[in-house]
Each structure stands twice: as C-alpha cells, then as structure tokens.
Symmetry: C2
Subunit: 230 residues, 2 copies
C-alpha cells in the first residue's frame, strides 16, 4: 500500500535527536558563547521537555565534540584553540580527499548530479557574499562541502563530516569580519567544482589541500581578533 501524498511519519526519529539538532543549530549560530555552561534544568524548561531527553541530547553533542562534559560540573560550549582548528581541517582534508577519489571512481552521471547541486550552492553563496551575510555564508560553505561528501553515498563518511561541518561553522563564526578576502571563497569553491566536472583527479586533490590550508591560515592568522584561543 502506497501512502497518500502529503502523509509522513510523525516524529519518526528519537526525541533526543530532535533536541540535539535544534541545539546544534543554535550553537553553531553562536547563540551560546564559547566556554559558557549549558544548564540542564533551564534548557529543559525552555524547550518544554524534561531533563532526561535533554540530557541525552547534550551527551550526543558532547560525543560530536561541540560540547565538552566535565564530571559533576556540567557541559560547556567548546572553546576552539588553534590546535583544534588544525585538527579539524586535517580531518576534513582526509575525508574530502577520500570523497574526491570515490566520486571520480563512480558513475559519471551521478557526478554530474552532484555538480549540479554544488553549482546551485555556489550561486547562493555569491548572493550572500554580495549581501555580506556571514551566517548564511558559513552555512552555504559547509553545505557545499557536505554535499560534496554526500555524493559518495558512504553513510559513515557523511556522518563523520557532519560533525566536522558543525565544528567548522563554529570556527568560521568566530572568524566573522576578520575573513581576509571575501571573494576568494566563491572562487575556491568554483575551482573545486570545475576540477570535479573535468574529472581532474590530481588537480582536485591539490585544490582541496590548498583550500584547507588557506582556511587554517585565515583562521589562525589573528587569534587575538577572533574568539579562538591560542
């Protein structure tokens, strides 16, 4: 029996995950300042739920790494150090390089589909760059890379990357206006897209490496101007 259109399973996913998704979005948008303690009771009341589910959500975010838990103290919003930035982008490079190889080994038509999606994201990104909307730029930046990795269809790789994407958004957020050249952002993504379309394996790998390297340089260049601690 096919379900009628417009019908969908209500609350199909576990509640804790819904809360976690909501909180993650709030955190990466900077609704909580780094190092700030997250109060269980208070948040539970605000979200109109009990401490149980909320606790599970917090624990989930702890495991993802955007919150840190201290025994008998509570959970705190992650404070990013330059070391953290280096780690995050090193792992991102590893994942994206693997994704690039997998993509180039896969069906050309599927690659074309992915390229179409990426192209649309770049278009939106250019718009937001013109509007200087940093929130949106950070979101689209990670949307681009997440779509790139999603193209592999490897659910584990995708899951890993989603965590990295959240952490990266926190990095980018603390960057804000400190970002040196706003136009380079669109250009670099466009280059990655072009090389993927051209199926230039070596060039794509180099472009990804450069993209990550530049990001680390930008993010660690002036730590005193950002929220990133040395």
């Amino acid at each position: 029996m096919a379900a009628p259109e417009g019908m969908f399973v209500l609350e199909g996913r576990p509640t804790a995950q819904l809360i976690a998704d909501q909180l993650r979005e709030l955190i990466v948008q900077g609704a909580f300042s780094p190092g700030q303690q997250v109060n269980e009771s208070a948040l539970a009341s605000q979200l109109n739920t009990s401490r149980g589910p909320l606790r599970e959500a917090l624990q989930r975010l702890c495991q993802e790494g955007i919150l840190v838990s201290k025994r008998n103290r509570g959970v705190f919003v992650l404070e990013l150090s330059t070391q953290d930035v280096k780690e995050i982008y090193a792992v991102r490079e590893a994942v994206e390089l693997a994704a690039a190889n997998t993509l180039l080994d896969s069906d050309p038509e599927h690659v074309a589909d992915t390229c179409r999606e990426l192209k649309g994201i770049i278009r939106n990104m250019a718009k937001q760059v013109a509007a200087s909307d940093w929130q949106a730029i950070a979101r689209l930046d990670m949307q681009f890379h997440t779509a790139f990795v999603s193209g592999t269809g490897n659910t584990r790789l995708i899951r890993i990357y989603e965590t990295l994407a959240a952490e990266s958004r926190m990095c980018i957020l603390s960057l804000e206006v400190a970002y040196p050249r706003i136009d380079a952002l669109v250009q670099e993504h466009q280059m990655i897209l072009d090389l993927l379309e051209a199926r230039d394996r070596g060039g794509l790998q180099q472009a990804i490496k450069r993209h990550m390297q530049k990001a680390v340089e930008d993010l660690t260049a002036s730590p005193e101007a950002t929220g990133i601690t040395a």
Copy 2:
C-alpha cells in the same frame, strides 16, 4: 603539591562511559549476536545500575554505530552487510592515509617511538597467530592500526578511528576461521611498519590501500560462511 605515589582519582570518568566501554568490549567480542535486541531493564539489573546511565551508554554506542536504535522499539546489535564492510574500510583507508602523511611530516624521533610500539604489537600478533586465538588476533590487529593513527596526536582522527576499530572487530569476528591465509596478516602489518620506518611515503600509501582492499575482499568473499549479510 605533588600527589603521593599510589594515589589516583577515583572514578574520574562519567559512569555512562564506563558502562559503554564495558558493553562495547562485550559486543565486539561477540557476546551478543547481530540483530539481537538489547533489553534496557535486564542489562541495568545485570550491571547493577539504573536504566538512566545504561540508557546513556546505549545511546553512545548507537552514535558510534555498533548499535542501532529504533524508535519505541529499542536498540539492536548492528547487522553488518557487505555494503557496511565496504564503507568501513573506505573510511579506514582515508583515515590511515591521512595518518601516514601526518606521521611522515612529523618529528623522526616520534615516528621511531611509534614504530617501537607497532613492533611490539606485531610480535604479540605472531604469537597469537601461532595459537590461533582469533579473539586476540582481532584485538591486536586493531591495536596496531589504532596505535598507528594515535601516532598523529590528532584527537579527532583518533576518536573517529576508535569507532571504526570497534566496527572492524565486529567484521573480523564474523570472519573467524573463514580467514584465508593467516600468515599474510602478520606479513602485511610488518610491511606497513617497515615502510613507515623507511619513510617511504608512496610505498606506505600503497601498502595501506592494498591492506584495506584485501581485507574487504576477504570479508566479502564468502558471505554465506560468515555472519555478514548480503
């Protein structure tokens, strides 16, 4: 003030993690059959704890991927498909290649330390191969690779790999006596170690790729003989 010898912090880590570690070890050792439901109340009683902490531990293992949660149904032990095996080893390859590059870029003395550790693990592995103790072999196999990745010092990479290691042990476990050539295991690891010591970047990368590729072939070769579903 230096703490007197013999003193240590009591139960410094969160309880849920202790339970999770214990359960993870049981699962990767095959104490639960794939697809089997894990009963919260029963386990809580057995482990002499309440459902709260146990629930958190289960959720943690769900996020790691060795348990799967179904809403209002409970959690079940992961059933590995050939697709899962391919995914796991694709991600492992990505992580280990990145680890290899990072290691070869790091301090030679530190690499030497890592090599010493790996050498010891290989020695133990050879012993267990002689004794045909599959449990121990699987444990040492993953211990080797985990030590390799740990050499990078990248905490995020290490955390990712620990999850992959757990899943891999489940793969290897279902392999058991079906493993084709028991000697190749020690040889392949020895080769990786040698190439790392020789600082042969290209050779090491190739060796890692081959190692992963062979593992997938072995694991997916005779699915009917193993617990891995098509």
